[in-house]
């Protein structure tokens, strides 16, 4: 391991925080999707790093990472479809204007 695991973990934490900031702050729906992808990648990074650091040889970490990628793909697809539908319907995909659920 060329770099101690803690550093990799720190990196993924930073990435995760950036993604979270994006999800919370961006107005554009697709911007949020992008941020989510970032957060997922941060998680993958952790998976791989720990699997590498002290895995038990079962490849669970990497398998998990693979699955996360799969899920992310599904998520992005559906998300974008939604965005398209909303856009077609409401001419905007700014998150703060879509407030049908307002109480």
């Amino acid at each position: 391991m060329i770099v101690p695991v803690s550093h990799v973990a720190a990196l993924s934490a930073g990435l995760f925080a950036l993604g979270l900031f994006g999800a919370l702050a961006r107005r554009n729906g697709i911007g949020i999707l992008i941020s989510i992808e970032l957060m997922l990648n941060a998680a993958n990074l952790n998976f791989v790093a720990f699997s590498r650091a002290q895995g038990d040889g079962s490849g669970m970490g990497q398998a998990a990472a693979l699955f996360v990628i799969g899920v992310a793909a599904a998520g992005a697809a559906v998300g974008l479809a939604l965005m398209l539908a909303i856009y077609r319907h409401r001419r905007t995909i700014a998150a703060d204007e879509i407030d049908l659920l307002k109480g």
């Binding site: 990196l11 979270l20 911007g31 990648n41 993958n44 650091a53 002290q54 895995g55 479809a81």
Partner: protein
């Protein structure tokens, strides 16, 4: 590829940190760019960075998978999404929403907290012997112990596919 020794090792460490920095930069662009296309590019940079990091962590298959799936497919999807929804570069549209400041503070605090916790945590560094995972073991793992999640994933992807198609289809008038 096993760990290089001596001066080569220091160079690898430097490269690793450099790639890490690049990933972070990409992330920042993805998040902050007003123009969504540039944001998408920022995301691309970040994804590349991660792929390289996988390499450093001897997860070659993953790196390739990352490149293929993430960059190739998901990114393309996002770009299409961007293209299809107008106003990608409209300067009048404010980039951040009302709670940006609050979000920034929260995420900053989160980041600091996590990093501090991670760095100070007594990882069991080297408790187990470092070992690399032969690809062949990964494949057997996927079709052996993790067969169920593997199948479920395929099912999930099929569902998502149909769902996305249905939602995005243009209504018949």
């Amino acid at each position: 590829m096993s760990d290089p020794v001596g001066p080569l090792e220091w160079a690898a460490k430097a490269a690793f940190y450099c790639v890490a920095a690049l990933t972070l930069l990409g992330g920042w662009f993805a998040v902050s760019q007003r123009n969504l296309f540039r944001a998408a590019l920022g995301l691309a940079l970040a994804l590349f960075g991660v792929a390289v990091l996988y390499l450093f962590l001897q997860a070659e298959f993953l790196a390739v998978a990352q490149l293929l799936v993430y960059v190739g497919a998901i990114l393309m999807l996002i770009i299409f999404g961007v293209m299809l929804t107008a106003g990608i570069a409209d300067p009048a549209v404010p980039r951040w929403n009302r709670q940006a400041v609050g979000a920034a503070l929260a995420c900053g605090a989160l980041a600091v907290g996590l990093v501090a916790a991670v760095l100070r945590a007594p990882w069991l560094a080297g408790a187990g012997k470092e070992f690399t995972l032969p690809l062949e073991a990964l494949g057997r793992g996927l079709l052996g112990r993790y067969l169920l999640p593997f199948e479920l994933l395929s099912l999930l992807l099929l569902g998502a596919l149909i769902g996305a198609l249905h939602i995005a289809r243009k209504e018949k008038e």
